[in-house]
C-alpha cells in the first residue's frame, strides 16, 4: 500500500469520525487540543465508483491478429474484508456469447480479457468471474485500473466499435 493510499484511508476515517468538519471549516479546535479522544463507529458499507471507460485503442498487430486495449478507473470502499474486485458479463450469464462482444446475433470469436494492476489477463468467458484484485483488509477509496483487451483475428471483421458489451464491475465484501 503506497503513502497516498494510506493518507486517503486516513482522510476517510476523518470524514467518518467527524473530524473533517472541524479541520476544514476552521471550527473550534480546543477540544482536540484538550486531549479529547477521537473515534467513532463506521457504518458497515460497500461502495463502488467507476470512471468512464476509455475507448478501445489499437495496441499491436502481428501474425494475423490485432489487439485493442481499454481501461476503466475504479474506486472501492468496504468496511468488511476480504474485499474482491471482479468483472462479470452483464448480458450473458452462460452460453456462447458469455464474455464475447456482440453485434446483433454475431460475436467476436475471441472473448474479452480483463486484468487489474500488474495481474495477468483473464478471459471473461470462464465459468467463474475472473478475480482481478483482492484486499485482505477493509479499504477506503482504494483505486484500481481495470485493463480490458480484445483480440481480433483476421481482417474480415467490421470495426471493433460496431460490437458492444455490458460489463458489471463487481465489488464483493466479506465472503460467505
Amino acid at each position: 500500500m503506497n503513502v497516498a493510499t494510506r493518507l486517503r484511508r486516513l482522510a476517510l476515517f476523518a470524514v467518518a469520525s467527524g473530524v473533517l468538519g472541524g479541520v476544514l471549516g476552521g471550527g473550534p479546535l480546543a477540544s482536540a487540543e484538550g486531549g479529547t479522544p477521537v473515534g467513532g463507529a463506521v457504518e458497515s458499507t460497500l461502495s463502488l465508483s467507476l470512471g468512464e471507460p476509455s475507448p478501445f485503442t489499437h495496441v499491436r498487430s502481428g501474425q494475423g491478429r490485432s489487439e485493442y486495449d481499454a481501461t476503466v478507473a475504479v474506486e472501492v470502499t468496504a468496511t468488511d474484508a476480504p474485499v474482491r474486485l471482479s468483472l462479470a458479463d452483464g448480458e450473458a450469464i452462460s452460453g456462447a456469447h458469455r464474455g464475447h462482444m456482440v453485434r446483433g446475433h454475431s460475436k467476436l470469436p475471441v472473448a474479452l480479457q480483463a486484468a487489474a494492476g500488474h495481474g495477468g489477463f483473464h478471459s471473461l468467458d470462464a465459468s467463474f468471474d475472473p478475480l482481478l484484485e483482492q484486499w485482505a483488509e477493509p479499504v477506503s477509496l482504494e483505486g484500481a485500473t481495470i485493463r480490458l483487451r480484445q483480440e481480433v483475428r483476421g481482417a474480415h471483421f467490421p470495426p471493433i466499435g460496431d460490437y458492444h458489451k455490458l460489463l458489471l464491475v463487481t465489488a464483493s465484501a466479506a465472503g460467505p
Binding site: A4, L7, R8, A11, A14, L20, V23, L24, L29, A32, E33, E43, S44, T45, L46, S47, L48, S49, L50, G51, E52, P53, P55, F56, A70, V72, A73, V74, E75, T77, A78, T79, D80, S86, A88, G90, I93, S94, F128, D129, L131, L141, G143, L148, G161, D162, Y163, H164, K165, L166, L167, L168, V169, T170, A171, S172, A173, A174, G175, P176
Partner: protein, 256 residues
C-alpha cells in the same frame, strides 16, 4: 503556531490535495449499499433491510437478487447468477433510483427454513441510464453477504471427508483433504493431521476453511517441503469446527 496546529494544517492541506486527486473517479459518484453484511437469525418475518444509494448524477436501473453461493474447491465464492434464494423475500426487487437518491429494500423469510439456516449473496446491480449500442458499457454490481444463522440450539456441526490430494511438486507440495460441509453453519472447518510411515511422523495443524453448507472445499493439511522421504504413509486427520470435534478420518497416500 504550535507544532500541533502546523501538523493539523498540513493534514487539511493534504486532505484537500487528496480529494482533488481522487476527483477523476469519485467526482462521478457511484453506488453503495449498507450494511455490508446482513446477519440475522433464520426465523420467520423480517430479517433485515439494505439501503442502496446512487451518488452519481444519472438515474440508475437497480435490481436486487439473493443468490446461493458457488464455492470453488479452493474456497473462493461467487454468487450463482443462475439461481435465487426463493425462501427469502425481497421488496422491491427492481426500481429506478434517481441521481443522488437512496432507497431501502427489505428482506424477509416467509417460513423458517428446514435446514434452519441460509447463507447466500446479496447482489445489487445498477445500470446507469442511457443505452450504448456500440462499444463497452460499464455498470455497477455490489455483492455482500446474507447470513441467516441457526439458533444456537439448532446448530449442526457436521462434515463429510473425502479423498486426499497432493498438490504441487512431488513431496514438496501441499497435502489437502476434500471436505464437504454437511452441517448448517459457516463456522470454519479445520483440524490436525498426523502423517506417519517410513519410521517418520509429522504433525500439522490444518488451516481452517469457511465451507458453505452443502459445498465441498479442499482443506490444506500440511506443506510437505521435502520433509518426508518417498514411500507410503497413513494420514490421520482430526476435523473440528468451532471447537466441536467432527471425528477422525484415516487415509493412505504414496509419496514419490
Amino acid at each position: 503556531m504550535t507544532l500541533h496546529n502546523i501538523s493539523r494544517s498540513m493534514f487539511a492541506a493534504t486532505l484537500g490535495m487528496l480529494i482533488a486527486a481522487g476527483a477523476s473517479v469519485a467526482a462521478g459518484g457511484g453506488m453503495s449499499i449498507s450494511p455490508g453484511i446482513v446477519e440475522h437469525l433464520a426465523s420467520r418475518g423480517s430479517v433485515g433491510a439494505i439501503k442502496i444509494s446512487n451518488t452519481t448524477g444519472a438515474s440508475m436501473a437497480v435490481k436486487v437478487a439473493l443468490r446461493p453461493w458457488l464455492q470453488a474447491r479452493g474456497g473462493e465464492v461467487s454468487p450463482n447468477r443462475g439461481a435465487t434464494l426463493g425462501e427469502v423475500g425481497v421488496g422491491p426487487r427492481s426500481f429506478t433510483l434517481g441521481p443522488n437518491a437512496s432507497r431501502s429494500v427489505s428482506l424477509s423469510l416467509s417460513r423458517t427454513p428446514s435446514q434452519r439456516s441460509i447463507y447466500g449473496a446479496v447482489e445489487v446491480t445498477g445500470v446507469p441510464s442511457g443505452t450504448v449500442s456500440r462499444g463497452l458499457k460499464i455498470a455497477y454490481r455490489l455483492v455482500s453477504s446474507l447470513r441467516l444463522d441457526p439458533p444456537s440450539n439448532a446448530q449442526a456441526f457436521r462434515a463429510q471427508p473425502g479423498g486426499l490430494i497432493e498438490q504441487g511438486s512431488a513431496r514438496h507440495g501441499t497435502l489437502l483433504l476434500t471436505v464437504s460441509n454437511t452441517g448448517n453453519t459457516i463456522v470454519p472447518i479445520g483440524g490436525t493431521a498426523v502423517i506417519s510411515g517410513q519410521g517418520r511422523s509429522l504433525r500439522a495443524t490444518a488451516g481452517a476453511k469457511v465451507i458453505v453448507p452443502g459445498q465441498t472445499v479442499n482443506v490444506p493439511l500440511v506443506q510437505l517441503l521435502g520433509s518426508l522421504p518417498a514411500g507410503r504413509y497413513t494420514v490421520a486427520v482430526g476435523l473440528s469446527q468451532g471447537g466441536h470435534g467432527l471425528g477422525t478420518v484415516r487415509r493412505t497416500i504414496a509419496l514419490r
